[in-house]
Symmetry: C2
Subunit: 171 residues, 2 copies
């Protein structure tokens, strides 16, 4: 616990330092201005993101749209590379916008179904509007079934299209 | 190690956010440009918000800071009025920034402890770093114990100060 705290304080120094770059804020003399955090975190600023898994599941059921959950980390180069490819792929962005409920998380949920083969990043899981995790929709890598790389955008697109064929229709 | 990495990433998110944001998007001709959603939702753009309850609990334990959870709705005039008062109160903003882990939610969690007397908005609950919901810290209204109005900022401030006296210290 002590180590965690030490680490935290070191990193919070970094957080504070990073805000030094922003414009000076005339209302809070003690601090520099921070740029507000976004829900998209760079995965598509023009898309509408759910904030939490509970919210995403509710939207998925209500709208009868599949849910796409992206687990990533800001300090993971694989996550960053995938994010760039994902954000720049217009077909995927449009399909995500129109046909999916989307959620990106940097922190694991308590639902074990979202980590069928472990907690690693980046990984992408689809959840059916019936609230079933589509563990059958996998990427290219047998050791990390839900991992994608920037070169896998076509596979990801085809997996999104698979996810649109629901396991159970609620009609 | 997973926890450490998770922690690192959460904090590095904050460090790197500035690079993620801001650039105008010229790539989506079909739609009007949307303003990226923020985690603050207007409750304090200069504060650092947790995204999910799980994340907030983790930060609270790690930093040994109490957690303040604000439940609200965008189309609720009482929520909007409280938000304005909260965001404009410099003392509360500074105290929240320096001494609390903060989370605002427009969707309920699965944790019933966060709705001791029902699910309504706006309501504010405090959670101890020992992960105990401080149901003893209440507002002015006996029928909705955790509701606050814009006129209640002094009471909210004093409740924040109460929350800083932890139930159990981890020293």
């Amino acid at each position: 616990m002590k180590m965690l705290k030490g680490l935290l304080s070191v990193l919070l120094v970094l957080v504070t330092l990073s805000s030094v770059m922003g414009k000076p804020d005339t209302t809070t003399p003690k601090k520099e201005k921070r740029i507000p955090q976004t829900l998209s975190r760079g995965w598509g600023d023009q898309l509408i993101w759910a904030q939490t898994y509970e919210e995403a599941l509710f939207w998925s059921r209500s709208k009868n749209k599949p849910l796409m959950v992206i687990f990533h980390l800001e300090d993971c180069p694989h996550s960053q590379a995938l994010k760039k490819a994902f954000a720049e792929d217009k077909v995927i962005q449009t399909l995500a916008d129109e046909e999916f409920v989307i959620l990106n998380l940097v922190y694991e949920t308590t639902d074990k179904h979202l980590s069928p083969d472990g907690q690693y990043v980046p990984r992408i899981l689809f959840v059916d509007p019936s609230m079933t995790v589509r563990a059958d929709i996998t990427g290219r890598y047998s050791n990390r079934l839900y991992a994608y790389e920037p070169a896998d955008m076509k596979l990801l697109l085809s997996n999104m299209q698979r996810a649109l064929k629901f396991l159970k229709t609620e009609l």
